[in-house]
């Protein structure tokens, strides 16, 4: 560990928090329809959109109407993205003449981008036309976080509503998130990225004679515009196969810093926005504290393991790091470990280094982060929902332990909420364990493994965790572009997304109609440091109980083998 490493990590966290606090205040204003700086430009555009689409901005929706609008909107998005890929060969903006994508890959990718997963079973620069990247993938990079925030806001409205039914208007929430938050941020960010060397053009691929006289063809494309929203919307789907490890997506240490900030910016800001919206900033801070503690803990494990290195490579005689396989020189070990931690703390899933080549425990951290439910701030919109589900679980468990009525924000937590909360935690976990269990015993699953020994199991576990958590990062060695994995992982992504959205909307609907009870001596404080600690414990214990056996067979046994000098 060097002091410069520590400085980079500290600088990142401080700048992140300093940016997220004002953005949180701004987000709360936007989501509550208050006046903001952008109203002059976006207001008329917003009204025009509602007029064209026949949307009545004043219409109030209950949780079922809100959920239906969400499902219908996503279903249409999914189908059009699926068709677009099938027929891209016959459409314009395809200078490389890429053929239509096959049905199972197109299904997988359509699900992947509509569910904010951005799992990529394909290499971008060798599969997708510029048109598909723009009107297909970039568009869903805006939609999927926007609907995520919309559903989060509906959930918060349910928590603070006084015996009402309305959770707001899905169309209005989605539109406002795109116009006031995602679009302006992306526009600025994309241009900053170009200034550093991220490409943005519609030119065909360029073939050059290299300095040594060989021929090299260089992939081109509208990268910066997609890169910006890919990072800001916790999407993570790269324009290029290797994602943000590609010098055209992430050319300098400075872009690397900005892209890492973009990953966590909105997820952290939304926690502060929550505090504003429930009119009790402490409620936001307590969640912020819990998530920050877990982030630092996971970062420590990942960084520590990577710095300790690979003893079997070190013994060859290495003058620098022994774990540069799958890492870029400009980022080095510290920025690769930091990226891996934050991309999996959230549902981003972009990478700037290959997780498959990380040390066993270094690679376990992103896997574990995802398995915990991506609640270390988590994805745009859905991350805070996941955290609030754990808050409800914690309130309930603590209530049972001390014999107090479980209440959150003055509302009683009862049987229905608990059933839904448990469903939201159990369904993705079941999808991960059953899916990887199945894939590790059938030939369709095991024939895709790239690395022998326990690492092979880790590859499968990671794939199902990543898809159930709508993360999208991978142990990339696994050949995932097969009919089996495209379909199985596509279904896993749908289960993961629905399992967080539908139960939380149901909880919102039920909470909305409840009375707000006055605070009494019997009320358990949810704004104390003690509660923050309890929340962290519940998240870690639930995660450990569910996944420890699987992790023991994968990364943990590989870690022990590596240090014992065993190879496979």
């Amino acid at each position: 560990m060097t002091s410069n490493d520590l400085m980079q990590l500290g600088f990142y966290l401080i700048v992140l928090i300093l940016l997220a606090i004002p953005l949180g205040r701004y987000m709360a204003k936007v989501l509550q329809g208050e006046k903001t700086f952008f109203d002059g430009v976006m207001g008329p555009l917003e009204r025009l959109i509602y007029r064209i689409c026949g949307i009545d901005a004043g219409q109030e929706m209950n949780w079922k109407q809100y959920g239906l609008a969400f499902l219908v909107f996503n279903l249409f998005g999914l189908v059009t993205l699926f068709i677009l890929q099938l027929v891209q060969g016959r459409l314009p903006l395809n200078p490389q003449g890429f053929a239509g994508v096959n049905w199972n890959l197109a299904f997988n990718t359509a699900v992947s981008f509509t569910t904010n997963t951005n799992w990529q079973a394909y290499g971008g620069e060798s599969t997708m036309s510029y048109l598909t990247q723009m009107v297909g993938l970039t568009v869903h990079n805006f939609f999927s976080p926007a609907v995520g925030v919309a559903v989060l806001v509906a959930f918060i409205r349910g928590l603070i509503s006084r015996q009402g039914k309305s959770l707001g208007n899905f169309w209005v929430d989605t539109t406002r998130v795109v116009l006031w938050i995602l679009l302006p941020l992306s526009l600025i960010f994309a241009l900053v990225l170009v200034s550093q060397g991220v490409i943005q053009n519609l030119a065909p691929y360029l073939t050059v004679h290299t300095l040594q006289g060989a021929s090299q063809t260089i992939a081109m494309g509208p990268v910066a515009s997609q890169e910006a929203i890919k990072m800001l919307g916790t999407n993570g789907g790269g324009f290029m196969n290797v994602n943000s490890a590609h010098p055209f997506e992430n050319p300098t240490p400075f872009t690397n810093l900005l892209e890492m900030l973009a990953i966590l910016l909105i997820p952290v800001a939304q926690v502060f926005a929550f505090g504003h919206m429930v009119k009790d900033k402490k409620q936001g801070r307590v969640i912020f504290g819990a998530a920050l503690v877990m982030l630092v803990l996971m970062l420590g494990i990942c960084y520590g393991s990577e710095i300790a290195g690979n003893p079997q490579i070190a013994k060859i005689g290495i003058s620098t790091s022994s774990v540069m396989e799958g890492k870029e020189v400009r980022f080095g070990v510290v920025n690769s470990a930091l990226w891996a931690t934050v991309t999996s703390a959230t549902s981003n899933g972009s990478v700037n280094a290959m997780h498959d080549s990380f040390t066993p425990l270094g690679g376990m951290v992103p896997m574990l982060n995802i398995m915990l439910g991506e609640v270390i701030f988590g994805g745009v919109g859905v991350g805070l929902k996941g955290l609030l589900i754990f808050v409800i679980l914690t309130v309930f468990i603590v209530g049972l332990m001390v014999g107090r009525t479980p209440e959150y924000l003055g509302k009683k937590v009862e049987g229905f909420e608990m059933k839904m909360a448990v469903l939201a935690v159990l369904l993705p976990s079941a999808a991960i364990l059953l899916g990887s269990g199945l894939a590790s015993v059938i030939a369709w699953g095991t024939s895709s493994i790239a690395n022998p020994g326990p690492h092979g199991l880790s590859e499968i576990l990671y794939a199902f965790a990543s898809c159930a958590g709508n993360n999208g990062s991978a142990f990339g060695g696994l050949s995932a572009n097969t009919q089996f994995y495209n379909v199985a992982l596509g279904i896993t992504m749908l289960v993961g997304r629905t399992a967080i959205i539908v139960p939380t909307l149901a909880i919102a609907g039920s909470m909305a109609s409840k009375k707000i009870a006055p605070v009494t001596a019997g009320t358990f404080e949810t704004t104390s440091v003690l509660f923050s600690g309890l929340l962290v414990s519940v998240i870690l214990i639930v995660g450990a109980l569910t996944f420890f056996p699987a992790l023991a067979l994968g990364p943990i046994v590989e870690h022990l083998s590596m240090w014992a000098g065993k190879a496979f």
Binding site: G136, V194, L211, T217, P222
Partner: protein
């Protein structure tokens, strides 16, 4: 239900025009005007012809050039139409064997003793397979070889390496590095 479907389709359409066509085209237009070189790929030219991008690594096997890192992109490495890492795991024998073989090769190429430590980045495949950089240590151990192959003094080559060593960005971000293509172009123009 029908109303909901109608609104969904219309919003999908309008937002696609806005975020899928207007937004990328606006960025493309602005980028072309403000940062034309970066937008087209930071290309490097020799005698007016593009010979690559300073951001995209190239293969060098001639002893007169500094070598880049091993690459897993495409069949022969540095295929800039199919970026890729090796994705070999830390206990995979294939990885351990190839790292050992490369270390031996690096020592032979640069006439180093078997006990001399080699820089980690020079014997491992990068994440992108297109890493344009090597560490200053990796440049250092090649100075002697390149100087001999070009009949140049070691000082002269060393001076170029020093000149092309980039420190951490803004003084603390990332790692120090040497852009291999830029360094080799500078060598050629001596």
């Amino acid at each position: 239900m029908l109303k909901t479907m109608g609104r969904a389709i219309m919003l999908l359409l309008v937002m696609t025009l806005l975020t899928g066509i207007a937004y990328p085209l606006v960025v493309t237009g602005l980028a072309k005007v403000i940062f034309p070189k970066q937008a087209e790929g930071s290309l490097a030219y020799k005698n007016g012809q593009p010979i690559g991008s300073v951001l995209i690594g190239q293969n060098f096997s001639d002893a007169r050039y500094f070598y880049s890192r091993p690459s897993a992109a495409g069949k022969d490495g540095y295929d800039a139409t199919s970026s890729s890492g090796s994705n070999l795991g830390p206990t995979n024998k294939t990885l351990l064997d190839s790292v050992a073989t490369r270390a031996k090769q690096v020592r032979t190429d640069n006439r180093l003793s078997a006990a001399t430590p080699v820089p980690g980045d020079l014997i491992t495949a990068s994440a992108s397979g297109l890493d344009p950089d090597i560490s200053p240590e990796a440049a250092q151990i090649q100075v002697d070889r390149v100087a001999k192959a070009r009949n140049l003094s070691e000082q002269k080559v060393q001076a170029l390496v020093d000149q092309y060593t980039q420190g951490r960005q803004l003084g603390f971000l990332g790692e120090p590095r040497v852009n291999v293509l830029k360094l080799n172009m500078a060598l050629d123009s001596i």
